[in-house]
């Protein structure tokens, strides 16, 4: 019932990540946006900031809830989705597309392999 695309990996805390080999993109899952409800505010790090796998890197808030965002991998922030500052509802409307949050240059390629596969994540949300 919730969309879990096969082209990416997931965290237990409901972040997703894709990689093109050079950089990784990060966002939150369809399940997560539905649980939160209407997203009204996203706080993200700045370009150039270093983030560490497993640590908080930001906050997503809906009308009813506040939720920390956790980094799937370590790396340097190379892009931030500034569209979310004026249109946080993109996280609800298109969590795997226009609702992306960060782009990182990962410091290691190994961490990507430790994340949940779509099948593993699907089991967790059922």
């Amino acid at each position: 019932m919730f969309e879990i695309p096969d082209d990416r990996k997931y965290l237990e805390s409901h972040e997703w990540t894709t990689t093109d080999g050079d950089t990784v993109k990060i966002g939150i899952s369809d399940f997560a946006q539905d649980e939160l409800g209407d997203v009204v505010f996203v706080e993200l790090p700045d370009e150039g900031d270093e983030i560490t796998a497993g640590d908080e890197f930001g906050v997503v808030e809906s009308i009813k809830a506040v939720s920390d965002l956790y980094a799937p991998v370590s790396g340097t922030v190379v892009a931030v989705n500034e569209d979310l500052f004026d249109a946080p509802e993109l996280v609800n409307e298109d969590p795997y597309g226009d609702g992306w949050m960060l782009e990182l240059e990962p410091s290691s390629s190994d961490e990507f392999d430790d994340l949940l596969s779509p099948e593993e994540y699907r089991e967790q949300t059922e």
Partner: protein
């Protein structure tokens, strides 16, 4: 102990509601979208199941005396079919709960039905019966919380919605007036009251007939999430959050509801409140908006521009109507003027804020 459930729990679940615990009850928090439900109430009409609200009935020869001595407002001004907002305070004038007191049609003596907040029914029943016994009053007190389901039909089209289900001219009711009316053939207590800032009605119907009445009232189902954002836009207090005898002890004067305190009546807490009335309050309830991006939330500190913590946010949200972050809370009176610039500490980050006297929206 399990959570208490409203009579229409299964109806709400089938409609896709998400639930939340509130006051010991498992209640719908949102059906589809808080934003959409909020908009329905501001622009057309929404219906809330608020059967978690408590109901206590007070009757008998000394019923009026008992009500007068345990609430801060003056119940003697109520005629049958009137109601009033009121506070229940302790000896120190601290608000235990806020309530609406309805005067029902007389049964020989005056009869009152008052509506404490969710989960306060047992506490209020105990309070009323123990003071009745202590003062040796001849009054009957009944906890009828689970005799009554309660629905709030709110919004500019609420009159149309309720009128379509009854032959009574409920449009003749003024704000805070109420009457018995058959709604979808079920005798209900229909009151022109609410908690949203919009026109509307609160309909009390027998618990077992809840589904008949609910399904007859044609309005967007709304959960407690939008009920909260709607009341915050108006600056209305939420019991247990904007005041709480343990965590946020406040008097009616501090909480901005001095109009419910009638010092020319005798009630528990009167002397403490008279003292505060004469001396003035140190801290007062205010509204604020954030000038930076963010959302004020319950428990966040309020600080001066120099960083001195001077108060606390008790409620906050992103206003769905304004798309602006709004908050309610307490600050010292010298910081309470409109336009005063302060900061809110949101999870360690300073957000610039400005005092705005609620309501935040023009209604």
């Amino acid at each position: 102990m399990g959570l208490r459930k409203p009579p229409l729990y299964d109806v709400h679940a089938d409609a896709g509601a998400q639930f939340t615990e509130f006051g010991g009850w498992d209640m719908p928090v949102e059906y589809d979208s808080i934003r959409a439900e909020h908009a329905a109430v501001r622009e057309s009409v929404g219906i809330f199941d608020v059967s978690h609200m408590s109901e206590i009935e007070v009757s008998g020869p000394d019923g009026t005396a008992l009500m007068q001595r345990l609430t801060t407002n003056d119940v003697t001004v109520l005629e049958p079919g009137d109601s009033q907002y009121s506070a229940i305070v302790d000896d120190d004038g601290i608000i235990i709960d806020d309530t609406v007191v309805y005067r029902l049609p007389d049964r020989g003596d005056p009869v009152y039905l008052f509506i404490p907040n969710a989960g306060h029914d047992e506490e209020m029943y105990d309070r009323w019966t123990s003071f009745r016994d202590e003062w040796d009053l001849d009054a009957t007190v009944e906890d009828v919380t689970e005799d009554w389901a309660m629905f709030a039909v709110q919004g500019p089209d609420a009159l149309e919605t309720v009128s379509a289900t009854t032959d009574e001219s409920v449009g003749d009711l003024s704000k805070f007036e109420a009457q018995y009316a058959d709604v979808a053939g079920v005798e209900c207590w229909v009151a022109r009251t609410g908690y949203t800032g919009e026109d509307g009605f609160e309909v009390l119907c027998p618990w077992d007939d809840a589904e008949t009445v609910w399904s007859a009232l044609d309005a967007t189902p709304c959960g407690l999430g939008s009920r909260d954002t709607l009341r915050m836009e108006m600056g209305f207090l939420l019991s247990g959050q904007d005041f709480d005898p343990e965590d946020e002890p406040r008097t009616p004067y501090e909480a901005g509801i001095s109009f419910v305190v009638k010092l020319d009546t005798e009630f528990v807490g009167r002397d403490a409140l008279e003292q505060q009335h004469d001396a003035g309050v140190d801290e007062t309830f205010v509204g604020l908006t954030l000038l930076d991006r963010g959302v004020p939330r319950h428990g966040y500190d309020i600080a001066t521009e120099d960083g001195d913590v001077i108060g606390t946010v008790t409620s906050g949200t992103m206003s769905p109507t304004l798309s602006e972050p709004i908050g309610l809370g307490y600050v010292p009176v010298e910081y309470a003027d409109d336009g005063t610039e302060l900061t809110v500490l949101a999870r360690g980050r300073e957000k610039r804020a400005e005092i705005v006297t609620p309501p935040f929206i023009d209604n």
